[in-house]
């Protein structure tokens, strides 16, 4: 109906605007209703059913920030020993891009100085840097053929966590809790633990919620008895006073709820009560001295300190309490120089706790439904590098490498005792079973009972996924 018709029908200008007004009002009301009825916003951490039966209920990601050297830990390359000290063939580097290109000219083949041995019934190669990890190797699937897309730390980390190098997308922990909620009533569903001399580059971007609701952002736990910001009450607010405050808030909210019938008020009441419970559950969680001495020794825990070992034990305690996703970061793996010294130090810090976590979870029957992942944002080259410009044994290191690196997975439906993927003779390129970050994400979601192509969120006019438009579940990794 056009305007002339309206005039013909005897509509006045006033009628026209009146109708438009009602029409626009309806549109606006519709948008409001749609917003307030979207369930994931109202009860964000409510447990949601997976797309299909899940193997894993929780994920612990042990993230080695900086890029650990796979060639010194898992990818055994005897051929590289023969070529040690030679120039890498120019054809290999042609057209490839690396970080710190200006140091490329001086690079030589650099073989691992570590001793490799087959371990466990599976005969998986592990170097003498990781004697403890070697003892649980039959529960572990080592992937030697990981690939990623950016050779600088910040974008590579963002990519490894969000499936995009552009910071602004939700992290995997956010996607997982968005998809599944969390079983923990007293703790956040997605927790971040950090150790090492500094926070990882990119900071909160790699455990952020992106365009998902903020309820899905990772909650960084701080060392000490107050792991969450504002967990402790203010001076003068005793437990009794806080209890009275909560009761008062509830009484006022309930009067309002009875009047308005708005579910959001009920959620508010629940949020405040959860917060009150967190105030007790938080310090209780952090008190690792309640663990048996054998357990503390297994991990090599030092109570009161902020170490990777303490965080591995905390990760188990979190998963035990129903927390869905735990990211454990250990920094300082960026070994451009002094790699031999640094690897001794870093592997010494992480080896025992990593193995302890797998053992401890298994002992408690938690390994079956907890997926443990170990790895960094990329690996390192088979060539020498040095920030000091000297290639003497003490100052030598390795540059970033994205074409082939290693990650391991255990528990939660992973087929342990296997090595997946193969690299060429010098460990430069993948020659068999490449596993891209998107594939790792797809596999992780699959084990959690989520189809990575169906876990979507509509934002700015299109559906987004953790795996964007890629990703294939790695069937060979599944038990």
């Amino acid at each position: 109906m056009n305007l002339t018709d309206r005039i013909d029908l005897g509509h006045t200008r006033r009628h026209f605007f009146h109708e438009c007004g009602v029409g626009l009002g309806k549109v606006a009301l519709g948008a409001l209703m749609a917003e307030s009825s979207s369930a994931e916003v109202r009860r964000p951490m409510e447990v949601k059913p997976p797309h299909f039966p899940a193997k894993a209920k929780s994920v612990i990601y042990l993230f080695m920030a900086g890029g650990p050297s796979q060639l010194d830990m898992f990818d055994y390359k005897p051929k590289l020993t023969e070529l040690d000290g030679h120039k890498p063939p120019a054809s290999l580097l042609q057209g490839k891009r690396f970080a710190f290109m200006e140091r490329l000219a001086s690079q030589q083949m650099y073989a691992s100085r570590r001793k490799f041995k087959k371990h466990g019934q599976s005969g998986t190669f592990v170097s003498n840097l990781l004697p403890y990890t070697a003892t649980v190797i039959d529960d572990v699937a080592v992937v030697l053929s990981m690939q990623t897309e950016n050779f600088n730390h910040a974008p590579a980390k963002v990519f490894a966590h969000t499936g995009s190098i552009t910071p602004s997308r939700p992290s995997m922990g956010a996607w997982i809790t968005y998809g599944l909620g969390s079983e923990s009533q007293n703790l956040p569903g997605f927790v971040v633990l950090q150790s090492g001399p500094r926070g990882p580059r990119s900071g909160p971007l790699i455990w952020g919620n992106g365009f998902l609701a903020s309820a899905y952002q990772g909650v960084p736990f701080l060392p000490g008895s107050e792991p969450i910001y504002n967990l402790a009450s203010q001076p003068g607010v005793s437990r009794a006073r806080q209890g009275r405050a909560l009761a008062g808030i509830r009484a006022l909210n309930e009067i309002r709820l009875a009047e308005m019938g708005d579910d959001e008020i009920a959620t508010r009441i629940a949020s405040f009560e959860t917060a009150f419970r967190m105030q007790t559950a938080g310090p209780e969680l952090m008190d690792i001295t309640s663990e048996k001495k054998e357990t503390l020794d297994l991990y090599g825990v030092e109570p009161g300190k902020n170490t990777f070992a303490n965080n591995c034990l905390l990760a188990r305690r979190l998963v035990e309490r129903g927390v869905r996703c735990v990211q454990v970061y250990h920094t300082d793996w960026d070994h451009h120089s002094r790699i031999e010294y640094a690897l001794d130090l870093l592997c010494g810090e992480i080896d025992r706790p990593c193995a302890a976590l797998v053992k401890d979870l298994k002992l408690r029957g938690l390994l079956d439904d907890t997926l443990v992942i170990w790895g960094g944002e990329f690996g390192r080259t088979p060539f020498s590098d040095s920030e000091m410009g000297k290639l003497d044994p003490a100052s030598i290191g390795r540059n970033h490498h994205i074409a082939a690196y290693a990650t391991w997975l255990a528990g939660g439906g992973i087929k342990g005792g296997q090595t997946l993927g193969q690299t060429d003779d010098i460990g430069f390129s993948v020659v068999e079973d490449p596993v891209h970050i998107h594939d790792l994400h797809a596999t992780m979601l699959h084990l959690l009972g989520l189809d990575h192509t169906k876990l979507t969120y509509r934002f700015q006019g299109r559906d987004f996924r953790l795996t964007d438009v890629s990703g294939t579940v790695v069937k060979k990794l599944l038990a």
Partner: protein, 193 residues
């Protein structure tokens, strides 16, 4: 809103960013150590838009309350309602100071009778008078807080900032700081419909 109700809000416009209080460890997430020296005086109580923003270590309260992502355009603010928000409004230093300011304002502005104070507090927070039912609930809450402040003056004293305003006593101020914490945390106050 809590800042405005507290009577502490600085109406100043423009100028450099300010540093309201934030949890002590909030700057530790990035690889470079930086400091956050909380502003004092009026700069402590500016509108949130003036809060200094470190991209890697944003003010935790902004993160918890869905600050829009600076990397992309924000076409619609997300709504959420979470326990971490509750912890912030219950326990954060800034919010605690708002409650202290609000208590002092009620005692300053309302006649010295419980019902009058309750009415004043309702008008300042919810812009309406309490219903009969609410008034009854509030009277009981105020009485309980007054009892608590009387029976444990030491704990009540810790609740208060330095310098008690003239004409108010510690019991009143402590009781009303507790009451302020309740009103400033009701859904009706936090949510704008």
């Amino acid at each position: 809103v809590a800042l405005s109700a507290s009577g502490l809000l600085s109406p100043e416009l423009g100028g450099p960013s300010v540093f309201p209080p934030q949890p002590a460890k909030a700057m530790e997430a990035s690889q470079v150590k930086k400091t956050w020296n909380a502003s004092t005086g009026a700069s402590r109580f500016r509108r949130g838009i003036y809060t200094f923003f470190w991209r890697l270590t944003p003010h935790p309260a902004l993160m918890v309350f869905d600050r829009p992502n600076g990397m992309v355009t924000c076409t619609r603010r997300t709504r959420s309602n979470t326990p971490l928000q509750a912890l912030t409004t219950l326990n954060d230093t800034a919010f605690h100071e708002f409650a202290q300011g609000f208590a002092a304002r009620v005692l300053r502005e309302a006649p010295a009778a419980t019902d009058e104070r309750i009415r004043c507090a309702f008008r300042l927070t919810l812009v309406r008078d309490p219903s009969t039912k609410e008034l009854t609930v509030m009277r009981n809450l105020v009485a309980a807080e007054e009892d608590a402040a009387l029976s444990n003056p030491e704990e009540a004293g810790k609740l208060l900032p330095q310098g008690i305003p003239a004409g108010a006593n510690q019991t009143d101020l402590a009781a009303w700081t507790s009451i302020a914490r309740m009103l400033l945390n009701t859904d009706e106050f936090i949510t704008r419909e």
